[in-house]
């Protein structure tokens, strides 16, 4: 039973527009959420995180939103740039656990 789901395997967005990547989770015990970005043939790179006591965290062009009642996490990228084209993974864990549970990833393509 998959605990973390990214239901959109791919997403295409025009350069300059907003990219919205979504993630749903089933384990209400998760209390820390992360987004990673992965280019082909490279390891994932940490992007942004949020703890369950918050509903929003912003870092430059990246904003993560957490809706605990819906068990839903989203990543907004605005404005989208060609270098944002990559696979994005959401991941969840518990404080002090450090073992991450990853989603299957969403491939984002930014169209120039």
């Amino acid at each position: 039973d998959q605990q973390v789901k990214q239901n959109s395997p791919s997403l295409s967005v025009q350069e300059g527009r907003i990219s919205i990547l979504n993630c749903d989770y089933t384990n209400s015990m998760f209390d820390y959420f992360l987004w990673y970005k992965k280019y082909p043939a490279e390891g994932p790179t940490f992007l942004i995180s949020i703890s369950s006591i918050k509903d929003k965290n912003e870092d430059g062009r990246f904003t993560v939103f957490l809706n605990k009642s819906a068990k839903h996490l989203s990543l907004h990228i605005v404005p989208s740039q060609p270098g944002d084209s990559a696979v994005y993974f959401c991941a969840e864990t518990n404080f002090g656990n450090e073992k991450l549970t990853f989603g299957t990833g969403t491939r984002l393509t930014i169209i120039p």
């Binding site: 043939a41 390891g43 995180s49 450090e98 073992k99 299957t104």
Partner: protein
């Protein structure tokens, strides 16, 4: 920026060969991890370590073994490689009590 290094980056070997994937980090992190990812699939934790002389099996069963003799070094070994071991292997590390895991660039293993 994470300082975690994996070698080899790419390897093609024959069935039955023994292979060791090297992983080193210079951040002094206590915790280290090995994840496995097949194309288009989730990252699965196969091994982790809390520190020197500590090794644990991850969520996904693996025929590989690991050792942690030094804090900075966490090699993964396959005694007899099979085509089913063809995958990307990602090493990662984190601070004790930290929730962000930092990944190396990955090792692509192909067993023919």
């Amino acid at each position: 920026e994470a300082d975690i290094y994996q070698t080899p980056r790419y390897l093609v070997i024959g069935t039955g060969k023994k292979i060791t994937l090297e992983c080193s980090q210079t951040m002094g992190h206590d915790k280290m991890y090995w994840y496995q990812q097949d194309p288009g699939m989730e990252l699965h934790l196969i091994h982790y370590s809390y520190g020197v002389n500590s090794t644990e099996k991850g969520d996904l069963s693996s025929e590989s073994t690991v050792s942690r003799i030094r804090t900075e070094h966490f090699p993964l070994t396959l005694e007899s490689a099979r085509p089913s071991h063809t995958s990307q292997y990602l090493c990662a590390s984190s601070e004790y009590g930290g929730n962000t895991i930092y990944f190396g660039e990955g090792s692509w293993l192909t067993v023919v």
